[in-house]
Symmetry: none
């Protein structure tokens, strides 16, 4: 059987941005697009230039992309020419490889929402594809409400899809906009569509309103579609879009699909999928879903029970795929070995040479487990892990001690009746026999502490002068202001290297201070500062 190419289209940055509670900054979008590129996604939809300031800015500048960077927008408005539609103009100006236009394909919506005729809707699709192709862009048409439209008026829905295809749209994407279509309906309707448009021009865009977006996407592929739209972690409006993080491993690992299709994701990239999934959550500052298929912390976890002995004998008969293939780990109670090899790999990466039978490895593993139970997450804090490892192995000098700090935030009206907030910190540092006290103002307590701490570190001052904090993330574990606070701080130095450190405490200031200290000490270690 000849293998076919199946294309993946990620809309995390566009439809995913419609998720309640998700609000990407420009920096978020640039970083996530790069991550999707590295994964091997064919199309990365960045947003809707012209609709809001962030997206307009995102598409104002060319950036290198491996996949096709795609802009989203609407087909031309009724009663207007494409060249006279400012929306189309903004899309054609956008720095994008491809443009995905949404078009109506449900007769009812054309009449009620668009308030125009069916013919005018078809003309709008044709004109829009033509205009974008003339500007040298690859064109995709998202047929909105296609399945509901097909049920109401199959002829019209099909004629919308055909109009796009005939004008040269690379992909005609059938959207289950309301998310209520069932897999067998998707399979049947896509089967009808591919009779009139070749399947390698047909895509699927499914939503999860009946918890079947993944099944709907795969049903469309079985019926002949060759392009899947989805998002990381199933982000998206209402209940979300089809979750690419679940779809990708199924396509790569299940015989039915793996034997038939090639996708842009390499075996190596597949192993990074969990990391990508968690990085998105980290950026959204929300906990990763422990029970996520393939990549979740518990996806291959078995609670000791009736299966236990059999799992130890023949693990693969209790696992539908091998966790290694998706970069995940089996979690059975006696899994110290797996942990140890991870730690060894990490030490190797850091460049710390340790014999694999060194008893300090076991001790380090224990400390990591103890601290993770308290809320630390070393996977997200590479520099703090490195310090912990180096301390356990005894190679971190005691550069300096902070014997005391004090930070104060006061808010009041000043003499002019203006509300002012004043933040000051005092830090007492001991370096060898020398004691020094520094104070600084800041625009928040952590900033003030950071300023005070770095004001005078004596002989170490030169080593840290290029150090900059670039991000600060806070999460409350177990909810409530009285629970434990986890702070992650990202730092950068003059060489452009980034690192992340962590602090955990019931007190956000204490947690932040731990992370600040780790960042400075990491920088001293890395710079080879003398003890």
């Amino acid at each position: 059987m000849s293998r076919e190419r199946l294309y993946l289209f990620d809309t995390t940055l566009r439809d995913g941005a419609q998720t309640n509670g998700v609000d990407f900054t420009l920096a978020d979008k640039v970083a996530i697009a790069a991550m999707l590129d590295d994964l091997g996604i064919d199309y990365v939809e960045g947003g809707y230039p012209g609709a809001n300031a962030t997206d307009t800015e995102l598409f104002a500048q060319s950036r290198p992309h491996k996949g096709k960077f795609t802009a989203f927008g609407m087909t031309r408005r009724p009663g207007r020419s494409a060249s006279n539609d400012p929306g189309i103009a903004a899309l054609i100006e956008a720095k994008a490889d491809a443009i995905c236009f949404v078009a109506k394909s449900w007769d009812y919506h054309v009449k009620v929402a668009l308030e125009t005729t069916l013919d005018e809707n078809l003309a709008s699709i044709r004109d829009t594809v033509k205009a974008a192709k003339a500007a040298g862009r690859e064109v995709l048409i998202d047929c909105e409400h296609f399945f509901d439209g097909y049920k109401a008026n199959p002829q019209f829905a099909l004629s919308c899809a055909k109009a796009a295809y005939e004008e040269g749209a690379r992909w005609v994407v059938l959207c289950d906009t309301n998310g209520g279509t069932l897999p067998h309906e998707v399979e049947k309707i896509v089967g009808e569509v591919v009779k009139v448009i070749p399947g390698d021009h047909v895509g699927i865009h499914a939503h999860n309103d009946t918890e079947q977006a993944v099944a709907n996407s795969l049903a469309a592929v079985r019926a002949g579609a060759r392009h899947i739209q989805g998002t990381l972690n199933g982000l998206g409006e209402r209940c979300g879009n089809a979750n690419l993080v679940s779809i990708i491993p199924t396509l790569k690992l299940k015989k039915e699909y793996a034997d038939k299709f090639d996708i842009g994701i390499s075996d190596e990239a597949l192993k990074s999928l969990g990391k990508v999934s968690r990085a998105l959550d980290e950026r959204l500052n929300r906990p990763s879903f422990r029970y996520a298929p393939y990549v979740g912390e518990n996806a291959f976890a078995t609670k000791a029970g009736i299966h236990a002995s059999a799992i130890m004998k023949e693990p693969e008969t209790y696992e539908h795929v091998s966790p290694d293939l998706v970069g995940n780990k089996r979690k059975v109670l006696v899994s110290d070995q797996a942990g140890k090899s991870n730690v060894l790999a990490e030490l190797d990466r850091i460049g710390l040479k340790v014999d694999k039978d060194d008893r300090r490895i076991g001790r380090l593993l224990e400390i990591v487990k103890e601290r993770e139970a308290l809320g630390y997450a070393y996977e997200a804090a590479d520099a703090s892990f490195e310090l912990l490892a180096r301390r356990t192995l005894g190679t971190v000098p005691n550069y300096f001690d902070v014997s005391q700090f004090d930070v104060n935030v006061e808010q009041r009206d000043n003499a002019l009746g203006q509300r002012v907030t004043v933040t000051m910190a005092v830090v007492k540092v001991k370096i060898g026999d020398e004691s020094m006290i520094s104070a600084a103002e800041g625009n928040g307590p952590v900033n003030a502490l950071d300023q005070a701490l770095r004001k005078d570190l004596g002989k170490y001052q030169d080593f840290i002068k290029g150090l900059k904090l670039t991000d600060f993330r806070v999460r409350i574990l177990n909810g409530g202001t009285e629970a434990v606070t986890r702070v992650l701080i990202e730092s950068e130095d003059e060489s452009g290297e980034h690192w992340t450190t962590i602090g955990v405490s019931p007190n956000i200031i204490d947690a932040s201070f731990q992370a600040l200290m780790d960042s400075i000490i990491y920088k001293l270690v890395k710079s080879g500062a003398p003890a």
Copy 2:
């Protein structure tokens, strides 16, 4: 077409108890079983008597049940008679209406895990069914690994199922134990099974390892199975079991199923499904999944401005089912992507009657956009939006002013040489002509401020005594500790209502204070506190 009865079997208390992180007490189990009974579930599986103390105790006592209360256990061990197997004896003694026995049906597992012969496995199934029926129990057989077993040796897998059926098991349940079977495989294999066992004796038990447990369950029904096993909220080992909370509304509301099947869930009970789902999360002390199909807080939420105006015109064309039917609510989100229609819809939901041409609507929309440009995100902060709207419309009294606050965090060694962190806050409040000053300690600056602020609010004190902070989320916008901090605070009161407020400032303390203030004022507004 004659209607058929489809039976629901809930295993939240058994397979759901295998979820990593879930540990039901006896009281939990009794309460959840009652809730499932009220919902109209046909079979409630309570646990595995004999396997642990909680389950043994649960089944030691008869309790009134509407559905069939079911005990889980194993078929008799190889080489033993049923009457001589203590496991079987414990199950027969258990106060249960039905017993669900798990049996091997994959030849490989019989040989490797059970270390016995295929014939002995069949004999074990027959003897077990016979013994339980003789004791007057309804019998169900869970065929473990049925789909993998069928792929490896269809004849043997089928012979296990047939043995159970022929001895009089009411249901033969086909289990996708590893969760890796795909919907089209389930449909095909169930289709083969119902050729030899009548479909109204065949059940499905699916796991979510490819995010298709719901689709697999429905595929089995389409192929002829008439019994679905699943859990509330998809609890269960690894990635969970089929989520009954998603399956039930689909069976009730989607024509394909609703026209053909009756289930035990009434239209009224369907409206309580969200409450049941949240009650389980409450008991597990975990946040409800906002994006859950049908019942999630966001399941009918729309953010896109282009959809919002159409939703106001014709809601049903943007909703796959009506939210009322599942006891949920339509929600149009207010964000910088929103238009006037989003704001109008939200005002309507809040119960603020405003004429749609009122010029203050335009003013409110402008303020929302200005503030969102500063970092506010009102879609995630319903209560702060409501206050903003009420203030713009002039209906929020000026209850009190905070003229000054001061919060201090100090870290040092105490007299015993232990590192201690001390946090104190002072708040000066003016209510009418009265000025009062309160101080409090806290385990972090926000907690201390919260304590101090709520220590004495004079005549408002009674209104806020049931107020609790339940979550606190921090995000830095544009990176770095010098950037803007966004704080979201979730609160709850004695009535169980939840609301979220927001604060944005370069200073995390100021941002937190704004969100705290909004939460208290929202509570006063909602309680009808006098100005």
